[in-house]
């Protein structure tokens, strides 16, 4: 609610409402229009009687009439400065207005025009309120016939009063009153507000007793408008003389015509004649002449008017700020934080950040090279957007594209757009990325449209807007309007969530890529249809973190520029200009310090500057320090901490950050004083604080550990490094291990984890610092972890498949890794040269047999698969050979025979052995003949096994198709093993005949008959069948 003006505004609203109902054609302006006009021009309309012809039917709070409902009953009416009363009805109005017209008229249907007992002003009161109020004070006139009549009546009374000569005077008084509102000082307002609060409290008490429940609504709204009420109450004093004037003037009834009677608080009756419209116009003429005649009153009025006019302008300005304040007070009232005083608002409330925002390209403080690059990129669009080839484009296109990406992309495009249609500006907050985009765009002749991706996060919403802006084929070019350029702010805040149209970023990428695709084909426009035209307007995206995962696809298609912070000198110069413009004396060094402290964040600099200037008269290092503000809350990235660790400070490079400031700012004013030792000490503290705030000591340590040997620090004798390792790194290991083992019990140890990093700083730092190309992010720990997991898996699979149960139970992972694998691999690597089984000699027979046996015992196998070159290779499975030697190098000695044919031979023999074992097992278990087989000497067995050239050649040809080979060999095996035959017999004798038959009936070739099983249920239908159908 706007105090001050709202009092007028609402009274106007009332007027226009009454007007439009009484004489609908009289005023063209609607109620709302008038309300709007009131805000700006209320004073004028109120003040000048000349303007009455425009809105002459008038019931205004500040004119002759005051709308005075008195829900505030006798105790308030008795109150001498009745601050609430005046605006009670006013405050009611907006509440009732939204309802149907009928109801708002209904309110007036009950209304009477009465005379305010205190002010002597005529008053429109509602019946309900009159009922409630002390009605003895008022003489109520005839009841209105209809609602409309009531309204008419009120209006005419207003006219009547106004067009009397008293109108001038009353108006003048009212004007004074209005003026007094305007010049009300904030303190007075505050007091008025306090009284209002008190009243509200009082009312609330009463409400609790249930005394006034009927009027609770009225009263609570009155509490809202109390400040207004109290301020307009001053109008009462102003109209004190009007009181007596009224009394003398209207004490007699008019000679002719209708009139309204009213009685004032002194008990005197007043008679107001009712006039028709014609009378009113006559009256108007009379007023004009009267103004001339009645010098006494009109000169007074004129003087006052002149005064007011001169003061009006200033008053209006002040009122604006006061209104803000009162509004704040009211807001706090709503929040029922009653007695808090809102902070004063300075006259020029604009933030310096906005006030001194860069307007032109030359104002930009950010890095010039970036600025120019952005401008260049934008200029490359000129041909496409403006249809002209600017000189800048011609001159700079070639180098620009060369720098951006090699290749003659420029001319291939139909519209000669830059190769990359989207510009991506990145950089920490506050460097003026948004400003840069806006300024450059404006300079290049675009109208900017800004979309904040963190506001409208869904792709669907943004898509329309993006397309709407970028697809303006003609809208931008025709007429006077500028073409539009889209700025998407905080694009990294776009959601990665998929919606129906895909996520926002991929939509952007598609837009850019789509344009790429289209640039080639000429008929593309037709093909694509109206859905997505080519991208013909530049898009600038702004983000903080260019490496955000969401932006990955965008990064590849966009022209990326990183906005780097400006040098502190340049920033300080700009700050100095600002201070000069603001008239705040500033110490140059202090500004430099401020700039450094904010790390180039212009916005934060300006904000803190404004803040400091509000408190201190002068800006220097001292005032900067005394205020704890103006320090960015920075959490450094790991890389920057590593950079700090590996950088040896010199006195000039020392930038004090918040942490160091707070700890040693008082004692040691800044980095430039004090010797080398103090610089070192401060820097060490800075590092320590950064480490602690990052909270990632182990990661930091890993990074240092993996990189410190690459640093070019001076250590000719290697004593520094060796002492570092033996002392600090070991210390770190001990502490870290302890912490990890017992995380809860060793909190006190955590603090020590920081110091080894400092030790690394002392030993390994160089003045040059750390270049990112040298530094690698630590990943060896993760790699080691992964490698360990793999190795563990291999060992465990080996252990679980060990043939003997005792081995399985006793073998541990460590023993297997250290004591078993190496020897096992040696055993698995005998000298085997011959790959042809027929050529194997006795010695090699043995070796092969042993190898196959061992492999069988450990369930090792050779698996054939393709290597990277598509060659077939046999690999050991589980791959225990990977546990031996280093992964990147060839093993020191060959593991297993390496040649493919030999491995193939081993694999075949292994398979044969297994099949044989299996067969033997299944046959031996049931009966006692197993003993025979076990007693069969291995040598014999082996000889027999290898004595079958046909079988081996068959398997050699098709190593994978074991079943086939077995099928073919079936009779041979029977022949050869003999035991198979025995087995069949034994099974047949001991088991059921069917089983034996089954074994015998294993088909020797692929059967040509088969049983086709129908899965699921049968849907057969049972139905009677006659024999003849079967026959």
């Amino acid at each position: 609610m706007q105090p001050g003006s709202s009092a007028f505004g609402e009274s106007f609203l009332t007027n226009s409402l009454l007007q439009s109902s009484a004489k609908p054609a009289s005023t063209a302006a609607s109620a709302l229009d008038q309300l709007g006009a009131t805000r700006s021009g209320a004073q004028r309309a109120d003040v000048f009687p000349d303007t009455y012809d425009e809105d002459d039917d008038y019931i205004g709070g500040s004119n002759g009439l005051t709308l005075l409902p008195t829900a505030q009953d006798s105790d308030d009416s008795d109150d001498e400065d009745n601050p609430i009363g005046n605006s009670k009805l006013l405050s009611l109005l907006p509440n009732r207005l939204p309802a149907a017209n009928k109801s708002s008229f209904g309110m007036f249907a009950d209304a009477r025009v009465v005379c305010d007992p205190h002010t002597g002003q005529a008053v429109l009161r509602s019946n309900a309120e009159l009922d409630f109020a002390d009605t003895d004070d008022y003489q109520i006139d005839s009841a209105p016939v209809s609602e409309l009549d009531a309204v008419k009546e009120g209006v005419e009374v207003a006219n009547f009063i106004k067009h009397r000569s008293i109108a001038d005077e009353v108006n003048a008084k009212a004007r004074l009153a209005a003026h007094s509102i305007a010049v009300f000082t904030p303190d007075e307002r505050y007091r008025a507000y306090q009284t209002a609060i008190d009243r509200k409290a009082q009312f609330d008490d009463d409400l609790a007793t249930g005394k006034r429940q009927k009027h609770s609504h009225d009263n609570s709204t009155s509490a809202m408008s109390n400040p207004i009420a109290s301020s307009s109450s001053t109008g009462k004093y102003a109209s004190g003389s009007a009181f007596s004037y009224l009394e003398s003037r209207y004490s007699l009834p008019p000679d002719s015509g209708d009139f309204i009677t009213s009685r004032n608080s002194r008990g005197k009756s007043l008679y107001f004649a009712l006039r028709s419209d014609i009378d009113v116009s006559k009256q108007m003429d009379r007023i004009a002449t009267l103004k001339g005649e009645d010098r006494m009153s009109s000169s007074q009025v004129n003087r006052v008017v002149a005064d007011i006019e001169s003061e009006l302008d200033t008053a209006q300005a002040m009122r604006a700020s006061e209104m803000e304040m009162v509004e704040m007070l009211e807001m706090s009232a709503i929040d029922s934080q009653s007695n808090e005083r809102a902070p004063a608002v300075v006259a020029d409330s604009r933030l310096w950040v906005d006030k001194y925002r860069a307007r032109t390209f030359l104002d930009l403080v950010s890095d010039e090279r970036t600025n120019r690059a952005v401008m260049q990129w934008l200029k490359e669009w000129d041909y496409c957007v403006f249809g002209r080839e600017s000189a800048v484009t011609k001159r700079q296109a070639a180098p620009a594209t060369q720098r951006a990406e090699p290749g003659k992309a420029e001319n291939t495009d139909k519209w000669k757009r830059p190769q990359r249609r989207i510009l991506l500006l990145s950089g920490p907050p506050g460097l003026g990325k948004t400003t840069l985009a806006h300024v450059v765009a404006r300079q290049a002749g675009y109208a900017t449209v800004e979309i904040n991706a963190s506001d409208d996060r869904t792709a669907g919403k943004i898509k329309d807007r993006v397309l709407g802006v970028t697809q303006t084929h003609s809208v931008g070019l025709t007429g006077e309007t500028r073409p539009q350029l889209l700025i998407i702010d905080e694009v990294d805040g776009a959601s990665a969530a998929q919606s129906a149209q895909g996520d926002f970023i991929s939509m952007l990428v598609k837009l850019a890529a789509n344009a790429d695709e289209k640039s080639g084909g000429l008929t593309s426009k037709k093909r694509r249809g109206g859905d997505q035209g080519p991208l013909l307007r530049p898009i600038i995206c702004i983000c903080n973190n260019v490496y955000a995962p969401v932006l990955r696809p965008l990064r590849q298609v966009a022209q990326c520029y990183n906005v780097s912070p400006p040098t502190s000198a340049r920033l300080a110069k700009r700050l100095e200009e600002v201070c000069e413009a603001e008239g705040v004396p500033a110490d140059a060094w202090g500004l430099v310090e401020l700039a450094k402290q904010n790390e180039g964040d212009i916005r934060s600099c300006l904000n803190s500057l404004q803040m400091i200037s509000a408190r201190a008269s002068k800006i220097d290092s001292e005032s900067l320090r005394s205020s704890a503000i103006g320090v960015k809350d920075v959490q450094r990235s790991l890389f920057s901490i590593w950079a700090m660790i590996f950088t040896r400070p010199d006195s000039s490079s020392l930038t004090l950050s918040r942490s160091s400031r707070s700890s040693l700012g008082k004692r040691d004013s800044s980095g430039r004083v004090g010797g080398k030792a103090s610089v070192d000490r401060d820097y060490a503290k800075l590092i320590l604080d950064s480490i602690r705030s990052s909270g990632e000591q182990d990661r930091l340590m890993q990074g240092c550990f993996e990189n410190y040997l690459r640093m070019e620090f001076r250590d000719l004798t290697h004593t520094k490094v060796s002492s570092l390792c033996s002392d600090w790194l070991e210390f770190y290991d001990i502490v870290d291990t302890t912490c990890r083992k017992n995380p809860s019990g060793s909190e006190s140890l955590y603090a020590y984890l920081d110091f080894p990093l400092l030790a690394i700083h002392r030993t390994c730092s160089t003045p040059m610092g750390l270049s990112r190309s040298d530094f690698e992010y630590p990943h060896s720990e993760f790699e080691a972890f992964q490698g360990r997991q793999v190795a563990l898996g291999i060992i465990q699979s080996l252990m679980s498949s060990a043939s003997s149960a005792r081995t399985r139970s006793t073998l541990t992972v460590n023993v297997a890794a250290v004591g078993l694998i190496d020897y096992l691999l040696r055993i698995l690597s005998p000298q085997l040269v011959t790959s042809n089984k027929h050529l194997l000699k006795g010695e090699e027979y043995d070796r092969l047999y042993r190898l196959v046996e061992v492999m069988n015992a450990w369930q090792l196998s050779l698996v054939q698969n393709k290597d990277a070159n598509g060659q077939f290779v046999y690999r050991l499975e589980p791959p225990i050979d990977r546990l031996y030697g280093f992964p990147s190098q060839r093993p020191l000695r060959p593991i297993m025979p390496m040649r493919y044919p030999v491995r193939q031979l081993i694999s075949q023999e292994l398979e044969r052995l297994r099949l044989a074992r299996l067969a033997a097992k299944s046959s031996h278990v049931p009966d006692g003949e197993a003993v025979d087989a076990k007693e069969l000497s291995k040598r014999d067995y082996l000889t027999k096994l290898f004595a079958d050239p046909m079988a081996s050649s068959a398997t050699a040809q098709k190593p994978k198709r074991i079943d086939d080979s077995e099928d073919e060999e079936e009779p041979v095996v029977k022949d050869f093993f003999g035991r198979i035959v025995t087995k069949n017999k034994s099974v047949a004798s001991s088991g059921s005949p069917a089983k034996g038959a089954k074994k015998a009936s294993i088909p020797t070739e692929r059967s040509r008959e088969w049983f086709h099983f129908f899965e699921g249920f049968s849907n057969a239908v049972r139905k009677p069948t006659q024999v003849k159908e079967l026959l």
Binding site: S801, S803, N856, Q859, R914, L915, R917, L918, K921, S922, I962, D963, D967, S992, P993, A994, K995, A997, K998, S1001, I1002, P1003, R1006, S1007, R1008, E1009, W1010, F1011, H1012, F1013, F1014, E1015, S1018, V1027, L1031
Partner: protein, 118 residues
């Protein structure tokens, strides 16, 4: 009205079996199933069940007694003196029902390989 004569000679009885399968017997030989000398093999197992071996498949089945026995009749065409005679070739009192999913004989043997070796 002619009279139908059934002749039952115990000595002449042959054994037939009625097979009920969930599925069909198929072949890719020319001529289909007809004229096929040997299609597969049905075995009675010790536990009173049956199994059918066809190709590489083994279908386990069960023996179900028929509620009404069936007779297999052979029609003797009428000669001059006699009317038509039906000879009862066999009486079927039970059927073999194969409604289980068949399993592959070879695969089953090979599937044992890894586990059997340990």
């Amino acid at each position: 009205m002619s009279q139908i004569e059934f002749v039952y000679d115990r000595a002449k009885q042959r054994e037939f079996c009625l097979i009920e399968t969930q599925g069909s017997l198929e072949t890719d030989r020319a001529g289909g199933l007809r004229g096929q000398q040997r299609f597969g093999q049905i075995e009675r197992l010790a536990d009173g069940k049956v199994q059918m071996l066809i190709g590489v498949h083994r279908v386990p089945g069960s023996v179900v007694p028929l509620k009404k026995p069936l007779a297999v009749l052979v029609k003797q065409p009428a000669d001059e003196n006699d009317s038509t005679i039906y000879e009862i070739e066999a009486i079927i009192k039970e059927k073999f029902m194969f409604k289980m999913r068949p399993d592959v004989i070879l695969q089953q043997e090979l599937a044992k390989l890894p586990s059997a070796a340990t």
